[in-house]
């Protein structure tokens, strides 16, 4: 690593941007040449993208296991997803990938106005994607097609035609279903230990949730805090006492455990949505810097790396779309 890069005074890597001529290559003190620095940055980004692929790999594995275990649930439940909205989202995200790649090209060729315009277009497409997701989530929420214990579909009769149940919630009314007493108490109002209150409650160390033990424990009983903790963990959680008489669901032709599909659906699209939002924040930061003219043919690494991240988010959606929306017999 000889060469002149060794001798000049040690410049810290975070030297302020050389604004005299934008996009001039700045080499950190521990790199010899700009190309070495740029390729190191790219390799580092690709390694980070490998971790993103593996993160979503875990969810795809859960999808594969549960689809193989309950194929009838996935076939039955996927009809509640609107494939047209999914397709629209795919095209939106693919187009945002195009504008992002184009923006990188503009940065490399020094077209600052093109860079700013295309980054803005990418942000617009991303916002459109999230809007469509919101529409889908809202209709699912309204029809009670949620995960775990909150799955209590409001529709009496079947509306699952091939194109998926249209967004217009004709039932409209709140999903008040005639659930058997004591079974379907929504989590929020649940009397027993709700980890949410516990996790949030960093306050007084009386960790146990709002568990009242039927009157003050008599003298000589274990101290309340002790009782709360022992009591709660000693009692088997209600969720597992499955051999209770299931609520009279009236959903005669519905397979068991449909909620597992929606658990997987919300986990995958939710985590993907979070990554879209993170990507939008990064692109917005790039937009600000490109308006200030930081990027040019000599220095465009941040735009390229953000582009790589954005394309991986798009690739993940490319796999999510057919797996969730286009399940067939």
């Amino acid at each position: 690593m000889k060469g002149e890069a060794m001798l000049p005074a040690v410049r810290s890597a975070a030297a302020p941007a050389d604004t005299a001529h934008p996009g001039a290559p700045r080499v950190a003190h521990h790199f010899a040449t700009p190309v070495q620095q740029f390729e190191s940055a790219q390799l580092g980004m690709w390694l980070f993208l490998a971790t993103e692929v593996l993160l979503f790999g875990g969810l795809f594995c859960a999808y594969a296991v549960y689809r193989a275990a309950h194929p009838e649930v996935f076939i039955y439940a996927h009809r509640f997803l609107d494939a047209r909205l999914g397709a629209l989202n795919t095209v939106v995200l693919v187009s945002s990938s195009l504008t992002m790649a184009w923006a990188v090209r503009c940065a490399q060729t020094g077209r600052q106005r093109g860079l700013v315009g295309l980054l803005t277009a990418t942000l617009v497409f991303a916002a459109a994607f999230l809007a469509v997701k919101y529409v889908e989530y809202e209709s699912k929420w309204r029809h009670g097609l949620l995960w775990g214990r909150y799955y209590h579909p409001a529709h009496g009769r079947h509306t699952g035609d091939a194109s998926g149940q249209a967004g217009t919630g004709q039932t409209g009314q709140e999903p008040a279903n005639a659930s058997a007493p004591g079974d379907e108490r929504p989590m929020a109002a649940g009397p027993n230990q709700s980890p949410a209150t516990m996790a949030a409650g960093a306050g007084p160390p009386s960790r146990g949730g709002p568990v009242t033990l039927g009157g003050a424990a008599g003298p000589g009983a274990t101290p309340p805090a002790e009782a709360t903790r022992i009591a709660a963990s000693a009692a088997g959680p209600r969720g597992l006492a499955w051999h209770l008489r299931r609520p009279d669901s009236g959903r005669h032709d519905e397979p068991r455990n449909v909620q597992i599909f929606f658990a997987v659906y919300f986990l995958m699209t939710g985590l993907h949505g979070l990554h879209v939002m993170a990507g939008m924040a990064v692109i917005a930061w790039l937009l600000v810097r490109s308006i200030r003219g930081h990027f040019g043919p000599g220095y465009f690494a941040p735009v390229d790396l953000a582009g790589l991240y954005w394309h991986v988010v798009d690739v993940i959606w490319i796999f999510l779309f057919p797996l969730l929306y286009l399940i067939h017999g």
Partner: protein
């Protein structure tokens, strides 16, 4: 929990001699915002030693409780929290970041003759992620502890109301610290190698760190998604692991062990890297079978991803999968055996110098030998059904992790202590403490093998009376080991102030870090060091005047020596 190497006064006083990375800039801010890999390494080292102390205290409390079959000093819930926190602190805060982040951060760039790791800011960011993760883990202790065991098995972890969410988020954050360290090391080794240092002329410690980094980058994200799902299950009742809602608890075990077995290779591989350096330097002889030792590191990294099922032989896993996992488990044992044989062969016809680091290297061979060989029992399906989840497993992983990784960590710490602090520690006290640790360790954990085969289950607060004598021996051993480590801490801290001034090359090592001053200047090398064969010690002579080794300037060009690269 955060800890900076004492107030600037100490750092300054330690190394007044000449400008080096410790004395070059003063003040707390020069540490908090440093981008120098050496200072970040020191900060990691101090934090990791604090975590080791904390984890050790939990261990002593557990052993004290087990002195008598029924209650000794604490009740069942507190005991459950003790062994959980002992596991979490020791694994996530000490042994996974231990060698790579503390010693690796310091030594890797210097071994490459580079000025810093590829991404200095990312390096500092991963240290602060470590501190944040540690705070979350400690926060759990304050808010009522966590009693699920470090494995967080569902459905217990999703239904107990101890502060599991805090510890899980802590582990999630520590996972990212580990990922970023891995990314940093891979890019540094790929892109910052000096001209002339090809892959097979690189020190073996760097090969080990490279293999470790591969696992860190490819395995830790799956722990990330597992912990995210666990938090989603606890807070939002997603029902993905809840059998009443169609979930599958054994799927959690698959997700968890897909990370956690490669994680044990994240722990042992850097230790094996340190071993290669110690054995070669203290035998004053090139390592035997350089290519085999180097490639076995990468082989371990690859096969380690295929063997996780041997943690689940009795968990309801199908016999077919158990058979496949058992076979692959035996395949991953081969590279480790190759390494051990190569280290022993390195000592053949060498000039073995029994300094403290070499003592810890010998302990590694002895203890990791037992740890590795007892792995054969656990890999064999029929025997594992009997000894799974008993004290046999506890003894096995303590022999490999404590006997292997911690011994190599302490050995490496002594080996690079002169380079990090510029001071020499006292050999007499070093050897004494090493003996104490060795005796204490074997007394503690060999008895647990016998406990295990006789059927004493793991994580038991009360145990049947006929196991009492074994437990008492084990507790005695634990106190002996603790004494050994406190003694070590004592003379190392003492050496910071009264230790002899360290020469550049106190042990006669041939790798590049011994060619810069101790402690090294801020930019590591004034002139780029000549890159030769990392184990060619033919031109290194002992010089009585400075009490260290010097590289004799012999006529033939640097790289022509009989390199192991043939």
């Amino acid at each position: 929990m955060t800890s900076i190497a004492g107030h600037p006064g100490i750092a300054g006083r330690i190394a007044e001699a000449g400008a080096n990375y410790l004395s070059e800039r003063r003040g707390i801010l020069s540490w908090v915002f440093t981008l120098d890999h050496k200072r970040i390494g020191v900060m990691y080292l101090v934090s990791i030693l604090f975590s080791f102390l904390l984890g050790g205290i939990f261990a002593l409390l557990i052993r004290t409780e087990l002195l008598t079959p029924r209650r000794t000093i604490m009740d069942a819930d507190t005991y459950n929290q003790m062994f959980t926190l002992h596991g979490v602190v020791m694994i996530f805060l000490f042994i996974i970041p231990g060698i790579p982040a503390a010693l690796g951060n310091f030594v890797l760039p210097i071994m490459l003759g580079a000025r810093d790791v590829a991404f200095p800011r990312l390096n500092l960011f991963s240290y602060y992620l470590y501190v944040l993760g540690a705070v979350f883990a400690v926060l759990a202790i304050a808010t009522g502890g966590v009693d699920t065991g470090w494995t967080f098995y569902v459905p217990y972890s999703t239904t107990t109301n101890t502060s599991v969410t805090a510890v899980v988020l802590g582990a999630f954050i520590l996972g990212f610290s580990s990922i970023f360290t891995g990314i940093n090391f891979i890019v540094t080794i790929h892109k910052l190698r000096p001209p002339g240092m090809t892959w097979f002329r690189m020190p073996l410690f760097l090969w080990a760190l490279y293999a470790t980094a591969i696992i860190q980058v490819l395995a830790t994200p799956v722990l990330g998604i597992t912990l995210l799902l666990l938090v989603a299950e606890r807070l939002l009742r997603v029902g993905i692991f809840d059998p009443a809602l169609g979930g599958d608890p054994v799927l959690f075990q698959h997700f968890f062990w897909f990370y956690s077995h490669p994680a044990v290779y994240i722990m042992i591989l850097p230790a094996m890297g340190v071993m290669s350096e110690l054995v070669s330097t203290f035998s004053h002889k090139p390592i035997f079978g350089y290519r085999f030792v180097a490639l076995s590191s990468v082989a371990i990294a690859m096969i380690s991803f295929l063997v996780w099922g041997h943690h689940m032989f009795t968990s309801g896993q199908s016999p077919l999968a158990s058979m496949i996992f058992s076979f692959l488990t035996f395949m991953v044992a081969i590279p480790s055996a190759i390494k051990v044989f190569n280290w022993v062969a390195t000592m053949y016809r060498g000039a073995i110098d029994l300094k403290t680091p070499m003592l810890y290297a010998l302990w590694f061979l002895f203890l990791f030998g037992i740890g590795g060989l007892t792995g054969l029992f656990l890999g064999a399906l029929a025997v594992d059904v009997h000894v799974h989840d008993t004290y046999f497993v506890v003894a096995h992983f303590h022999y490999t992790m404590f006997g292997g990784v911690a011994m190599a960590f302490v050995g490496g710490l002594h080996y690079w202590w002169p380079k990090i602090t510029g001071r020499m520690y006292s050999e007499l006290w070093g050897r004494l403490a090493a003996l104490l640790v060795f005796v204490g360790f074997n007394l503690t954990f060999f008895t647990q093998f016998v406990l295990g085969t006789h059927g004493m289950p793991r994580r038991y607060y009360n145990y049947p009376a006929h196991f009492t004598s074994y437990h008492q021996h084990s507790t005695l051993g634990a106190y002996l080991t603790a004494a050994g480590f406190f003694l070590t801490a004592g003379y190392l801290i003492h050496s910071l102030f009264r230790g002899r001034r360290a020469p550049a090359n106190p042990w006669g090592g041939a790798t590049l870090e011994w060619q810069c001053s101790s402690p090294p200047p801020a930019h590591n090398f004034d002139r780029p060091p000549p890159v030769g064969d990392p184990y060619d010690m033919s031109r290194i002579r002992y010089d009585d005047a400075i009490g260290g080794y010097v590289t004799a300037e012999v006529a033939e060009p640097a790289g022509a020596g009989g390199g192991p690269g043939r």
